[in-house]
């Protein structure tokens, strides 16, 4: 364990059952098993955890403050850096919030493409959980298997967006570009084989005796406490509460798809693992349906007060022969400039929440009618979920803390914002 250990108090006793000696152990912030820069001050009695206090803020970049200083369009790229394991989910959620505030309705094709991006991101994020979660506990093989599929998803994102991370792909009222046929074919190929791959992870873990010993009955949280603590997403569903914003407050095109909410029964680390495994299968189902039903048409909304003009209409620069693009006009370039710098969103306030891979990701935007938000609040699921850590770890052994951290599946970029 990294960090320093110091003895706090104490009257030493050799009596059996003497519990006076407590030790404070510092875990993190640079420990690999803390999944980023989380520091936990653990109070130990022998090897048993008496208390665990997470210390956060090492990655605080002031995203909410930046949200007040940048225009609505400029802030999109910052959303990528919240939960960087599922960037597209964040940017799409942000754009949907602004659309809700401005009263923009995006075309059906855009909604479907967003669903595809969302679900691919969710799978990528859960694959990180399965891989690193198992790696933390000592099962290194799963990591390589899950990373293989994650790599495929990143290749798909590369095809669609041109980046492997931090895509900045969503736009207010649409998406940056339509998917190419090549990308759609790659997604189709991925969905066809993915179910089998999940079987592969399950083969390595689900009935693995060591995985059971390390996860069953560890970090138990009962449904009432979970709800009271504000948990959401797979962490809440692991305790048996069937709550999924994709079903309960449908956004994008989720009401068109047929899928289930996997829930656990015991609320321990193992159930949270099972929920995520099942969710990957469900996401895959949604992907297959979305590809099948994908409507044709535009991807940008009509409202040109807030929505960017099509890329091919922008008169930017000529090619090496001095030829300008055929359809390009100067007026559209001016419009693009105006929209980016001066899209004035009508005054009001809106809270929009989506089911991100970690739980309920909410954006609360207060607009005063200018081109930048008066207040941009990011309600990140990881931040609220992390509160459950102390209660889950208490009474377990120090090595179980690592299993609990992994099963909570938080991302520090989103915790600290």
């Amino acid at each position: 364990m990294a960090g320093t250990a110091q003895t706090r108090k104490v009257e030493f006793t050799w009596m059996p059952g003497g519990h006076e000696e407590l030790m404070t152990l510092n875990v993190g912030p640079q420990h690999p098993a803390t999944h980023g820069v989380l520091r936990i001050i653990v109070t130990l009695e022998g090897e048993q955890i008496v208390d665990a206090e997470p210390v956060v803020g090492y990655l605080h970049r002031g995203k909410e403050k930046m949200g007040e200083a940048l225009t609505y369009h400029q802030f999109i790229v910052h959303c990528d850096r919240l939960d960087y394991l599922s960037s597209n989910l964040n940017t799409i959620a942000y754009c949907e919030t602004v659309e809700k505030l401005a009263g923009i309705e995006v075309p059906p094709r855009c909604k479907y493409l967003r669903v595809i991006l969302n679900e691919l991101s969710r799978i990528a994020s859960h694959l990180v959980y399965v891989g690193t979660g198992a790696l933390d506990i000592g099962a290194a093989t799963v990591f390589f298997h899950s990373w293989r599929e994650r790599e495929k998803i990143y290749d798909i994102f590369d095809l669609i967006t041109g980046h492997r991370m931090n895509y900045g792909f969503a736009r207010i009222g649409g998406l940056q570009a339509d998917f190419s046929d090549e990308a759609l074919a790659a997604i189709r190929a991925f969905t066809e084989e993915f179910e089998e791959r999940v079987d592969g992870y399950e083969y390595l873990l689900t009935k693995n005796r060591i995985w059971w010993e390390r996860n069953k009955g560890i970090g138990v949280i009962d449904p009432a406490t979970a709800v009271n603590l504000g948990l959401s997403g797979p962490n809440l569903r692991g305790s048996g509460v069937a709550r999924d914003l994709r079903i309960h407050e449908p956004y994008a095109a989720y009401e068109d798809f047929d899928f289930e909410i996997p829930v656990g029964t015991n609320g321990d680390c193992f159930d949270r693992y099972m929920v995520r495994i099942q969710e990957m299968r469900q996401s895959n189902r949604i992907l297959a349906q979305a590809l099948e039903k994908l409507p044709k048409g535009e991807i940008f909304a009509e409202d040109r007060r807030f929505v960017l003009p099509p890329k091919e209409r922008l008169l930017t620069s000529h090619d090496h022969r001095g030829v300008y693009p055929e359809k390009a006009v100067m007026e559209e370039l001016i419009a693009q400039f105006k929209v980016i710098t001066d899209a004035r969103i009508p005054p009001g306030r809106v809270y929009h929440a989506v089911e991100a891979s970690k739980g309920e990701l909410g954006f609360f935007i207060v607009s005063d009618g200018s081109n930048r938000a008066k207040r941009l609040r990011i309600r990140s699921p990881s931040f609220v979920n992390l509160q459950a850590l102390a209660g889950m770890a208490r009474g377990h052994l120090l090595s179980d803390l690592i299993a609990v951290i992994a099963s909570l599946d938080f991302v520090l970029g989103e915790v600290d914002r």
């Binding site: 403050k65 609360f364 609040r377």
Partner: protein, 172 residues
């Protein structure tokens, strides 16, 4: 839609029967029903909504504030509640003066309010009376400013200061 409105009206009646004029529906809250609550009765209203009301709000989703600087009352404290049993959301708003913004903590009602209130303290300097450990959460412990206030510059107040300095200050 009709049923929704009926239930909302029932909730409004319930609240107004119990708390009178100190709880008023918010006109400008269009995405979800909202109530403006007098700061003194916030805790009572929250306890009522979580434990007695016809729609139970079991979860506190978010606590945050909006700085109206230089207007007074300066802070709008916003609570977003969620009812899992009836799939409804509710917004509560409390107005607080800029001089010494203080309000009762709701950690006794929803344990999840702990970090959210700490964040509101950290960012806006709003004190939550009765909070079990109200200390900074995202900013360094010895930080003296409240960064999300409107009078705090975007680029920060002492940008040259690094982690090492505040860590030294914290240990001292």
């Amino acid at each position: 839609m009709e049923e929704r409105r009926a239930r909302l009206e029932a909730l409004t009646r319930e609240l107004q029967e119990k708390f009178g004029e100190r709880v008023a529906p918010m006109e400008d809250s269009r995405d979800m029903p909202g109530f403006q609550v007098a700061s003194g009765i916030l805790l009572a209203v929250c306890r009522f909504l979580a434990e007695e009301a016809s729609i139970r709000f079991e979860q506190l989703t978010d606590v945050t504030a909006v700085d109206e600087f230089p207007a007074e009352p300066r802070f709008r404290l916003v609570y977003h509640l969620l009812s899992l049993s009836s799939n409804k959301r509710l917004r509560l708003q409390v107005l607080l003066g800029g001089e010494d913004p203080v309000v009762d903590s709701v950690t006794g009602v929803w344990a999840g309010a702990d970090w959210l209130e700490r964040e509101a303290w950290d960012m806006f300097g709003i004190r939550f009376e009765g909070h079990p450990g109200l200390k900074r959460i995202l900013m360094p412990l010895d930080y003296t400013h409240f960064p999300l206030r409107k009078d705090f510059p975007v680029r920060g107040i002492d940008p040259g200061r690094h982690y090492r300095d505040w860590d030294r200050g914290r240990k001292a």
